[in-house]
């Protein structure tokens, strides 16, 4: 929302006022409220995935492969650990930036810019998924990693890796489709007719969430 509703009081008093009010607890559109709740639920899904991964990593008796080694690339004769992942992370974080800008232009009802930036965000997301596909291929074909086993150590390494990055990748792919649809509607003037660009913001929430989850996967899976 570009302007805060006039009745909103700041701080704790504002919170109590909202919660003891009738009609609605938050001065936000339904779609946004629902997206927040959905993301909370999704947070629990990813938390379960990550805790399970940590659990099996600790319970397995085989040694855990060295992630810095496994995820290294050799570029021009140099062996650089985690190179691809670093680029992927950069791409995704950049896409969060373009998304934030899109939301900002959405506030101003700048149809063209909003759509352009959203398409850019979707393109960066697609780029991320592409690199992920490259990473998976390299792991499967070159290193012989399979979900049920790998030559480097504990079988759970591959299982967790494919499951968690796969599930996250599906979120990104879904997001790319979602963003493209919304961007297309922005461009076609659908939201101008509707009188509100809130859907852009809602899509933005989802996208930032997917990025944030990646940061955790990055930290817990690749860096640990």
């Amino acid at each position: 929302m570009s302007h805060e509703p006039a009745t909103l009081e700041p701080g704790f008093r504002g919170v109590t006022a909202d919660w003891s009010a009738d009609k609605q607890a938050f001065p936000v559109p339904w779609g946004k409220a629902m997206m927040w709740i959905f993301l909370l639920s999704d947070t629990f899904i990813f938390s379960c995935f990550l805790t399970s991964y940590m659990n099996v990593r600790m319970s397995t008796t085989d040694p855990w492969p060295n992630t810095a080694e496994v995820f290294a690339l050799t570029v021009a004769g140099h062996h650089i650990p985690l190179l691809l992942i670093a680029i992927m992370t950069m791409v995704l974080i950049t896409s969060s930036g373009t998304m934030a800008m899109a939301v900002n232009f959405g506030y101003r009802r700048d149809r063209k810019r909003t759509a352009q930036l959203m398409f850019a965000t979707a393109a960066l997301g697609l780029c991320f998924v592409g690199m992920q596909a490259f990473e998976w291929t390299k792991l499967i074909v070159d290193e012989g990693v399979r979900p049920w086993g790998n030559p480097m150590g504990a079988a759970q390494f591959g299982s967790s890796f494919f499951m968690i990055t796969g599930f996250h990748g599906m979120h990104v792919t879904g997001g790319v489709i979602y963003l493209s649809v919304v961007a297309w509607r922005v461009l076609s003037g659908f939201y101008d007719r509707k009188g509100t660009y809130e859907t852009v913001e809602v899509a933005g929430l989802y996208w930032h969430f997917v990025d944030l989850v990646w940061v955790f996967i990055f930290a817990f899976f690749y860096l640990w």
Binding site: M1, S2, H3, E4, P5, A6, W19, S20, A21, D22, K23, Q24, A25, F26, P27, V28, P29, W30, A33, M34, I37, F38, L40, S41, D42, F44, I45, S47, C48, F49, S52, N55, V56, S59, T60, T61, D62, P147, W148, A154, A155, Q156, S159, S160, M163, F167, T196
Partner: protein, 589 residues
């Protein structure tokens, strides 16, 4: 531009009636139709589970006589019976059924906030049920892993349905969770954002509070089941080892190595314990409203009741491992989880006291819904007390795995919520169908079910204390510690179970017959205060409220207010000389 709450908008949101039969009753986005759809599917699949329990009882009561169930099939029966009852009947009926029906009506909304998503929720639920039923017909039959689906046995050959059956079960659960999420997001957002004018949180009927909190629990607990279903499916299908340790099966080493079966138990119960409250909290809320309405008394300690619902909801996430005292987890965990379990008993006990105090010296009308509500208090206290036994590690260790556990959970999450379901169906039947049910048949149904439930489950406490193990197909005389009295008890239980099951046919007859032939119901036959009874039409039309949304002026419990013209003041009646302020938040009159 600030966002405008629905109650402050013009009639842009007044919905137009769909005309064709399909849009109206099948592919419908109306929360009331979706509610009935949910309820009908849930009751149908529940009848399957009921039939299975009768067949199991035939086996247990009269071994070697009927031979309908083969020994290895018995596991499949308990598994499907338990899972259907807990998830596909009770969860779906309380949230998809009553949640859908009551939330918009009780809050003065026209519908859920996203009706299309709500409709999809039902169709996904139906799909989940179909996949579950498909499990009966795949090679090897449905899974026999127990409703807890513990690995390693759930996916090892030797357990019935370890190849196809378990996959059907996991797929069905995953689809169910997707369906629930679509519905649950709607329920929560509607409660938060789409109440009518004057409807503050602290004026919401407790039914809505219970369903609201249960939906939140569902959104946060089902993820754990979802994740474990994915991991178990991977273990089973492509040979990963999340849950599977290195084991030998059928004399051969399996492909698995190094997984953690205990991890599954933690994930399962992180879902499983809140699940108990997903079923119990709506029952708590609804029973509060039934008691208050039919005793013509305001609910005792409304605020306390709300806080108790919230406290139970939060605490239910930190008690899960009381199901795992014998799992081999770190014994210090047992200490922690026993403590939290006893703490959660406090708000629960408060609720029970408040229910009793609500009807104490009330003008109790022993209507059919009221009978069921009072019956609930009895069975719930019973189940709650045995829960205190099982919550303590040292007492639980000898009792776990016996019929004491079966008696406990049937009392607390089987019989008690089912009684509320019956009471609620009778209570809202006149509003949903516009017809009145047959009172005499209803009372017959109550007494047979209530007494029958005790006839079935009370002896199981005794059997459990003797150490009779659960999930057994039969108890031959070779098991020496089982005295003959247990066999007699088993016969008695089985006969009672059959009578109770047959009584449910009377209930179904009553519902179906009254729908066509029952007398036309009064719009507010119980003289209740809540909004759903104040709709312009009965049954309410699409959009619920005609042209204008209702406006709420008081809480939901203004019964027997001194000086009022009648013994109830509906929530949408303004304060005036004729209608006193009432007792909202203990304001004396």
């Amino acid at each position: 531009m600030a966002f405008v709450a629905i109650a402050d908008r013009d009639h842009e949101h007044a919905l137009h009636d769909p005309q064709s039969f399909i849009r109206k009753y099948i592919w419908s986005q109306d929360h009331k139709v979706i509610a009935v759809q949910y309820a009908l599917v849930a009751i149908s699949i529940g009848l399957v589970a009921l039939t299975m329990s009768v067949l199991m009882r035939l086996q247990l009561g009269f071994p070697d006589t009927f031979n309908i169930i083969a020994p290895q099939e018995y596991y499949q029966y308990i598994t499907m019976h338990g899972m259907i009852m807990v998830i596909y009947l009770l969860t779906a009926l309380f949230l998809g059924g009553f949640g859908n029906y009551l939330i918009p009506l009780m809050l003065g909304a026209r519908d859920m906030v996203f009706p299309y998503l709500n409709m999809l929720s039902f169709w996904f639920y139906l799909l989940a049920v179909l996949v579950l039923v498909a499990g009966f017909f795949v090679p090897g039959g449905p899974t026999g892993a127990g409703w807890t689906l513990y690995p390693p046995q759930a996916v090892l050959p030797g357990t019935p349905g370890a190849t196809w059956g378990i996959i059907c079960m996991l797929a069905s659960l995953a689809i169910f969770i997707v369906a629930f999420t679509m519905g649950g997001l709607n329920y929560v957002t509607t409660v938060l954002q789409a109440r009518c004018r004057g409807m503050t949180f602290m004026r919401m009927p407790l039914s809505v509070w219970g369903i609201f909190m249960a939906s939140i629990l569902g959104l946060l607990a089902f993820p754990a089941l979802f994740v474990s279903a994915i991991m178990m499916a991977l273990d089973s299908l492509i040979g990963t080892s999340f849950f599977m340790p290195a084991v030998a099966s059928m004399g051969e080493k399996t492909v698995h190595t190094g997984g953690s079966p205990l991890l599954f138990q933690h994930l399962f119960w992180f879902f499983g314990h809140p699940e108990v409250y997903i079923v119990a909290l709506p029952a708590f809320g609804i029973v509060s409203d039934l008691l208050s309405t039919h005793a013509r008394r305001n609910i005792f300690g409304y605020r306390m009741m709300v806080w108790a619902i919230l406290a139970i909801g939060c605490l239910s996430f930190v008690v899960w491992a009381h199901h795992m005292y014998v799992s081999g987890m770190n014994p210090y965990f047992g200490f922690f989880f026993a403590t939290t379990t006893l703490i959660i008993a406090v708000p629960t006990a408060i609720k029970v006291y408040n229910w009793v105090l609500t009807i104490w010296r009330g003008d109790v009308h022993l209507t059919v819904p009221m009978l069921f509500a009072i019956g609930f208090i009895f069975t719930f206290i019973n189940g709650g007390l045995t829960g205190l036994f099982l919550g303590n590690v040292t007492v639980d260790v000898p009792l776990s795995g016996t019929y004491f556990v079966v008696a406990h959970f049937h009392m607390v999450m089987g019989v008690s919520p089912i009684l509320v379901v019956f009471g609620a169906i009778y209570h809202w039947y006149p509003k949903i169908t516009g017809r009145m049910f047959d009172e005499a048949l209803g009372k017959f149904h109550f007494w047979m079910t209530f007494l029958g439930a005790y006839a079935i489950f009370l002896p199981m406490h005794y059997m459990g204390i003797l150490g009779v193990p659960r999930r057994y197909y039969g108890y031959s005389d070779a098991i020496q510690f089982i005295p003959p009295s247990v066999h007699e008890a088993n016969e008695w239980i089985s006969i009672s179970a059959m009578i109770v099951a047959a009584t449910q046919l009377v209930f179904l007859y009553n519902l179906i017959h009254s729908y066509f032939k029952g007398p036309v119901a009064d719009p507010n036959p119980w003289r209740a205060t809540t909004l759903e009874w104040q709709t312009p039409q009965t049954p309410p039309k699409h959009g619920n409220w005609g042209k204008d949304l209702p406006e709420v002026h008081r809480w939901a419990y203004d019964y027997s207010v001194p000086g009022a013209p009648e013994d109830f003041i509906p929530q949408n009646v303004p304060h005036s000389d004729k209608t006193p302020v009432g007792r909202e938040h203990g304001v004396p009159t």
